[in-house]
């Protein structure tokens, strides 16, 4: 029995010795670890990792942590424990991104981007790169620089069902251009007993997105940013007009039943199953709709203009970005991998496999027409992450909730404007104190 025990111990010792040796052997070739949340892109990332290993001999481990909420918490916990992976993405607003940079978790990629006459930098859509950039006058206290690499591009627009358009007696080749045309369609939808606009407005941020689109259209970028800076109140008539649009949409019959408690997945199912005429969604929906209903006939359009004064703006830019851990011992290899990943061929492969818009502007040649329509929206794209200022979280919450209250008929646009302004004033006073 004792001999058997000794032999077992010896066996364990030998096993660990061999494993230890193999670890040392691997140490010469680093393994790059990438954390992400993109369930729909994971299989393609794994394929690209294999291609990179064949190309460079360096193994890349893509580790998926979903859903995005869980991923977001994991990244924060890893930042607190200083055990972030070599490459990771950040979900959240620009201030979260800034916090990671301030805590020295993210490598400044400016020098890499600008090497060889800006060759890497110039390969991206400028608006995609802008999301990962901090300019000289940013209000976050971050030194100017580029701190992330866009992997794909998105725009958030409206989509309309061409078949249902025909059924309503509308021209499927001519989506509404003005708010009035849009509202008129609402009346037709109501009469026909159909469902109008669907979107994930139960999750709130998509409401803010559309409201901001109209704010840019009605009062222009400068006034929107002045509001965020606290120079223009939310009780300004232009803001009341923005809030009123939601009441008009509700009153016209444009909004689908239960829109304020709708999650985006349900909205996507409804639109894909041809149960709703319009949807407000991001360009990622092309892949989602294709999976749910490959025969769906639809087109993308900008939200119909409420004013001629300023151009309509939509949210767009980098759909997802990767950052390099500033404390990683593999950071040079990680940068090399990201340069490869954002190369023309890899981006084209990623775009075709996942139906997402590539971040590399040279990879746009072979994308489907519907995706091209979303890509054309990039001309109108803006994003809170490139504004250089950000609204207080409690104000955005009051803003989103307020619009929900307007839609359910609980509050008037004026009431909501007043309440949002109150929260804003309280936050400004708190910041000053």
């Amino acid at each position: 029995m004792r001999i058997l025990f000794k032999n077992a111990l010896l066996g364990i010792f030998v096993c660990f010795s061999i494993l230890g040796c193999s670890g040392q052997k691997n140490a010469s070739k680093p393994i790059i670890t990438v954390w992400h949340w993109m369930t729909d892109r994971d299989a393609t990332f794994q394929e690209l990792a294999k291609k990179y290993e064949a190309f460079s001999g360096i193994k890349v481990n893509f580790e998926l942590y979903a859903p995005s909420e869980a991923y977001s918490q994991k990244i924060r916990a890893a930042a607190q424990g200083v055990n972030l992976p070599d490459v990771f993405g950040i979900l959240g607003e620009k201030r979260d991104f800034a916090s990671f940079i301030k805590a020295n978790h993210i490598l400044d990629l400016t020098s890499y981007m600008e090497a060889n006459n800006n060759s890497w930098k110039n390969s991206f859509f400028p608006k995609a790169l802008a999301v990962d950039e901090f300019t000289a006058a940013n209000s976050y206290g971050i030194n100017p620089g580029i701190f992330g690499v866009p992997i794909d591009v998105m725009t958030i627009q409206m989509v309309y069902n061409k078949k249902l358009f025909s059924r309503l007696g509308l021209d499927p080749g001519r989506p509404p251009k003005t708010l009035q045309e849009f509202l008129d369609i609402g009346a037709k939808i109501r009469t026909a007993g159909m469902q109008g606009l669907v979107s994930g407005w139960g999750e709130e941020w998509l409401i803010r997105c559309l409201a901001n689109n109209y704010a840019f259209n009605i009062m222009g970028k400068d006034k929107v940013l002045a509001t965020i800076k606290g120079e223009v109140p939310y009780t300004d008539p232009d803001w009341v007009t923005v809030f009123s649009i939601f009441k008009q949409m509700k009153d016209s019959g444009l909004l689908a039943q239960g829109l304020v408690t709708m999650i985006n997945k349900s909205a996507e199912q409804l639109f894909a199953n041809e149960k709703a005429v319009f949807a407000f969604n991001g360009s990622w929906c092309v892949n989602v709709y294709k999976g749910m209903n490959p025969a769906l006939e639809y087109g993308a359009m900008l939200p119909p203009q409420a004013s001629d004064k300023y151009p309509m703006a939509i949210w767009g830019g980098a759909g997802s970005s990767f950052m390099v851990n500033a404390n990683s011992k593999n950071k040079e290899e990680a940068v090399k991998f990201l340069i490869w990943l954002t190369g023309q061929d890899q981006q084209a492969y990623l775009a075709q496999a996942t139906n997402n818009l590539p971040a590399n502007k040279n990879s746009l040649s072979k994308i489907p027409e519907i995706l091209a329509q979303f890509a054309r929206g990039m001309d109108y794209a803006t994003h809170p992450n490139i504004w250089g200022v950000s609204e207080f979280p409690l104000v955005t919450e009051a803003f989103d909730r307020g619009i929900q209250s307007i839609i359910i008929g609980e509050k008037t646009p004026e009431q909501v404007a007043g309440e949002v302004q109150k929260v804003k004033e309280r936050q400004i006073a708190k910041k000053k104190a």
């Binding site: 924060r76 979260d96 978790h105 139960g202 709130e204 304020v260 909730r401």
Partner: protein, 291 residues
């Protein structure tokens, strides 16, 4: 000898005390400490603000108290509707009825389902455009078309609908504990009561209820603790806080964390924890008196 006995006793409780301290008490103290700071949850620098976060919660944060009120409402429905239903079913299954083992299994299915699955399933049952609209169809078929309603997207019914679905999901736990409690009551007591001429109602009132009070308190405490912390079901049913109508404390804590107010979220967590401890303590004291 006495010292040795004492040391032995301490040695036995030491693992439990250690685990409880490491995983409950120390984190609680640490979270309280974080609640005294203005911190975004990422940076290494924190600004000490003293009790400012707690002051804001108690004096300014109306959304927080609305969330507490909503959670209290769901809890009240769970304490009454859910637990009465659980008790009645357990009482029925404790008697000699046919297929009682089958019922036991059936009643325990909802609690073992994930809250996301329950939420999605009920969303499908209730909603009309993205679901089967079964409830409204049934109401129409039984001649109650005036009750047809957008149950989840009407602010006046959303919270109650969430509460009822939560009860459906949760009553199985209470059922199981009540059933276990009922089976510990000696059958001789009922036989003796019957011999003495007691009716079924008198036996229930004079034997079952008094002997079940400790179990009822336990189920009550577990119901309060479980229901006050509900949030996954709400997200899967209505997507979130629905203009505050389905807001609950855990969703508020998550909103603070998302808004980079980690210190404030910790203060909310501590406040919430203290409220739950106080409620449980009151229930415990109340049960002691009742016994």
């Amino acid at each position: 000898m006495r010292i040795r006995d004492s040391l032995e006793n301490y040695a036995f409780v030491l693992p439990a005390v250690t685990i409880f301290s490491v995983f409950y008490i120390i984190p609680f103290i640490w979270i309280f400490q974080l609640g005294l700071f203005d911190w975004d949850g990422i940076s290494f620098t924190r600004v000490f603000v003293g009790l400012q976060n707690f002051k804001e919660i108690f004096l300014q944060d109306k959304n927080w108290w609305q969330a507490m009120w909503n959670a209290g409402y769901i809890t009240l429905i769970a304490l009454t509707l859910q637990n009465i239903l659980a008790f009645m079913l357990a009482w029925a299954c404790d008697r000699e009825i046919k297929m009682k083992n089958f019922y036991r299994v059936i009643f325990f299915i909802p609690p073992v389902l994930s809250e996301v699955v329950v939420g999605m399933a009920w969303r499908f049952i209730i909603n009309d455009i993205d679901g089967a609209n079964i409830i409204n169809r049934t109401l129409t078929q039984i001649g109650l078309p005036n009750l047809v309603h957008n149950w989840l997207s009407d602010p006046s019914t959303a919270l109650s609908t969430v509460a009822v679905i939560h009860c459906w999901k949760g009553f199985g736990w209470g059922f199981l504990i009540f059933l276990a409690g009922l089976q510990t009551i000696p059958r001789e007591l009922y036989e003796a009561a019957r011999v003495d001429g007691a009716s079924a109602w008198q036996s229930f009132k004079k034997i079952t209820i008094p002997l079940m009070i400790p179990i009822m308190v336990l189920v009550g405490i577990l119901t309060v603790l479980g229901t006050m912390q509900v949030f996954v079901l709400i997200i899967s049913l209505v997507g979130g806080e629905f203009a505050g109508h389905t807001s609950v404390p855990v969703l508020r804590i998550l909103a603070s964390m998302r808004g980079s107010r980690f210190g404030y979220a910790c203060a909310q967590g501590i406040t919430f924890g203290m409220v739950l401890i106080i409620i449980s303590f009151i229930q415990y004291r109340f049960s002691k008196k009742a016994q």
